[in-house]
Amino acid sequence: MKYTDNTPPLMRVQGLACAYGARSVVRDISFDLWPGEVLAIVGESGSGKTTLLNAVAARHTPSAGQVSFDMRDHGLQNIYAMTEAQRRMLSRTDWGFVHQNAADGLRMNVSAGANVSERLMALGQRHYGWLREQATDWLERVEISPSRMDDRPDTFSGGMRQRLQIARNLITQPRLVFMDEPTSGLDVSVQARLLDMLRMLTRQMNLAAIIVTHDLAVARLLAQRMLVMQNGQAVETGLTDQVLDDPQHPYTQLLVSSVLQP
């Protein structure tokens, strides 16, 4: 991708705030996200990072601020000024959302093949044989054996379900994927494999991603840039390596120092 001064950001967040009644959960967050860029939002539980992700992914209406996404033919558009129909279309085509708990992002009572090809069917694809080919291709890409295509995800391990969820989201070649703690709850070795796969896929597909995580290792491995949250505010942002190797803010320093070194 050739970047010029005129290349718009893929997503622009300005002055975003979220509140539950009188309680402020996210305060004055702003950032730009560029095509193919992976941003990690890091913080402890209660920092507001998941609320921020949901607000940016049109799943939770913010109380202030603006979220704009670069629509292919129309430039940056305020996602909350769109109709619900447009937002839903966006979340099925140009966006992906990977939930922490795979069961939240899958249809547990239909086969893996149906899960993976659903978005294509929703877009009007009607050739069963072709749909199965696409499903086979994508199951292989996420390292699930195609022999499992007709099995239901409730027979899959946690790691397999997560990979299935990723395939389901990526099959429409989205430009932006949101991920909420994609590796939490998985065994360490399973995590490592999943992270490797995510890194490969994001590079191959020039995917932009916003990943919420409390695990700095995930940020280090996947993200070019990082945003550190504490009590709903961004206390530090910057290139991942710089922030992790030379943290400026006391809270970031605390986070970095408390990570157990292997």
């Binding site: 619900e84 086969s111 050739h127 069963y128 749909l131």
Partner: protein, 290 residues
């Protein structure tokens, strides 16, 4: 016209009951719902369904639609499972005889209104006729998504992925699409509709039909419509297209190989024979009437 042995000619109209039972305000309300349904083919219009003297689930929606459109010069035919003689059909026909006094018939071609449960007549319909279907479950996605608040949104946003996931699963699991009746259709290229539990054999008859097709669901309180000459396509995949049922046998009584056949068990040894489901069609063929 064939002699109508099963119809009691002496059933006269009861003058104490308003014409077609419903009061005029109710008829007006239902007609408005019908007009809206005709203007938006396949879209389910909610209406204030009334209690009728027949139970919910037994055709009250179809009855309310018929009662709202029927006039003194109409000729009414009522069928259930294709036959004029089944208990449900007889009961409903008697209801209309009692409340309207209109002429009734078993002859598909001379009827102006045909109320039906679970079949479309074999004899092709013509312009000016109205086919009123009795519908138990108007929402085609109900088994997949029982919440009406959600299905309403899916229809509004034309998000029908769920329906195709269901068909995909059938093919993956059985090698066939496992729906054989109440097979969902796409109406006028926009709304997915339940055609009522007619066998899929009848689905092609709905497409570009010259007659007006009205659908009434009393218990679920919905009316929908397919105007004449509207496209009605059964869902499927390009490489697994929609297929109708076929029999290896012919009708034992009239010899037809084109109509829907009912299976009749003859004894406890498993021997059986097949006869036309459409009693009027079969009777005419037997009598040599074209």
């Amino acid at each position: 016209m064939l002699p109508v042995e099963t119809i009691t000619p002496s059933l006269v109209r009861d003058p104490r009951i308003n014409f077609a039972y419903l009061d005029e305000r109710t008829k007006r309300m239902i007609r408005r719902a019908i007009l809206k349904a005709v203007a938006i083919p396949g879209y389910q219009v909610p209406f204030g369904s009334r209690e009728m003297p027949l139970p919910y689930g037994w055709g009250t929606g179809g009855i309310q639609v018929t009662a709202s459109i029927i006039g003194p010069v109409d000729v009414l035919k009522v069928i259930d499972q294709g036959s004029d003689d089944t208990v449900n059909a007889v009961n409903i026909r008697r209801f209309f005889q009692r409340t309207t006094g209109v002429e009734v018939t078993t002859d598909t071609t001379s009827a102006s209104i045909i109320q039906t449960r679970h079949r479309i007549p074999e004899t092709p319909l013509r312009e000016g006729q109205v086919l009123v279907y009795q519908v138990p479950v108007p929402e085609p996605m109900q088994r997949l998504e029982p919440r009406e608040t959600e299905t309403r949104k899916l229809h509004a946003l034309q998000e029908y992925g769920l329906m195709h996931v269901n068909l995909f699963e059938d093919l993956a699991h059985y090698g066939h699409i496992a729906t054989t009746y109440d097979y969902p259709v796409l109406v006028n290229g926009r709304y997915i509709m339940s055609p009522s539990p007619i066998p899929k054999f009848d689905n092609p008859k709905m497409h570009l039909n010259p007659a007006l097709q009205l659908f009434g669901a009393g218990r679920e309180k919905r009316i929908y419509a397919v105007p004449p000459y509207t496209s009605v396509e059964s869902l499927g995949f390009e490489d697994h297209p929609f297929e109708v049922q076929r029999w290896d046998a012919a009708c034992e009584l009239c010899g037809s190989r084109e109509s829907f056949l009912d299976e009749v068990l003859m004894d406890d040894q498993g021997s059986r024979m097949f006869v036309c489901s459409d009693s009027d069609y079969c009777g005419k063929r037997q009598a040599g009437i074209p």
